[in-house]
Subunit: 129 residues, 3 copies
Amino acid sequence: MEKIILKTTKRIDLVDITDKIESLVEKSRVKEGICFLFCPHTTAGLTINENADPSVRYDIMNTLKRIIPENGNYAHTEGNADSHIKSTLFGHSLTIFIENGRLSLGTWQGIYFCEGDGPRQREVWVKII
Amino acid sequence: MEKIILKTTKRIDLVDITDKIESLVEKSRVKEGICFLFCPHTTAGLTINENADPSVRYDIMNTLKRIIPENGNYAHTEGNADSHIKSTLFGHSLTIFIENGRLSLGTWQGIYFCEGDGPRQREVWVKII
Amino acid sequence: MEKIILKTTKRIDLVDITDKIESLVEKSRVKEGICFLFCPHTTAGLTINENADPSVRYDIMNTLKRIIPENGNYAHTEGNADSHIKSTLFGHSLTIFIENGRLSLGTWQGIYFCEGDGPRQREVWVKII
């Protein structure tokens, strides 16, 4: 298992980690296989979405802020109840195929770390078989 | 890796792909294993839900339309900002067990391709181990 | 494939199944590997979230109840249309790494069965490689 370390800079952000994962795949020298990703946090998650127009990321974050506002009528009093709920909606595990020694992503796909309660130092765990 | 090609016919739709996946499992002759599915698109996703009453699919789509409307205050100007957001909520990878040479699904479960910006030709990538 | 049987006690609930999964990992004697979880139901799901303050679980359930109310304008007439929609948002498969013979979870993470239409007897399917 490999660990990617990243530092997020905002409370809510979608950080492109595609290149970091691709580097681990190259280092592994696996030609045909599967890359498993896991997010070990409870106020963050992982998703796949468009890698071109950054407005897509903005819309995802903005819409989630609207649906699950930071300041709601929450029981959890640490100020990040919304972040926990977003974490569950994003999800914590991703499975991506490896073909010809590279990640098999769609043309427009990038892999994103979904920060829900930053800025913080975060990890993504990676296993390649 | 195998590719399933499908043509969607509506802007938003849940298309049952269970039989197509089951055929690939049979072809693989794997008796005990895992079937991994991946959606290579950023305005579509994959889910599992009821295979009997089609009103369930209707309610899923209709509720997502209500929560994330097509015409919102979005930064992405291609008219499919909502589709990208839905794609992240559906998710892109599924893991289903194979037992006795068949997909292990619950009694009421079917596998659905979640079209969010059709009609289009789409793919689902499949790996069986 | 192993099956975990659980009895839920409420209509909507998040039930901690971490210890049950951990027991199966120990029993398997796998030291380095992957634990795959699958929810074979269409009105329930699986998630990972905070294992300490139970108010987090309360907020997740309460917020989903607000966004997807039990009594909405649904086509499915069995009284559990909301449960099917929640099931799709939670998701049905999880992938967790095994290191040193134990589940590799983050410090604050627990694994939860997300009941959406209980009380019922439910299953979680587990495969360890």
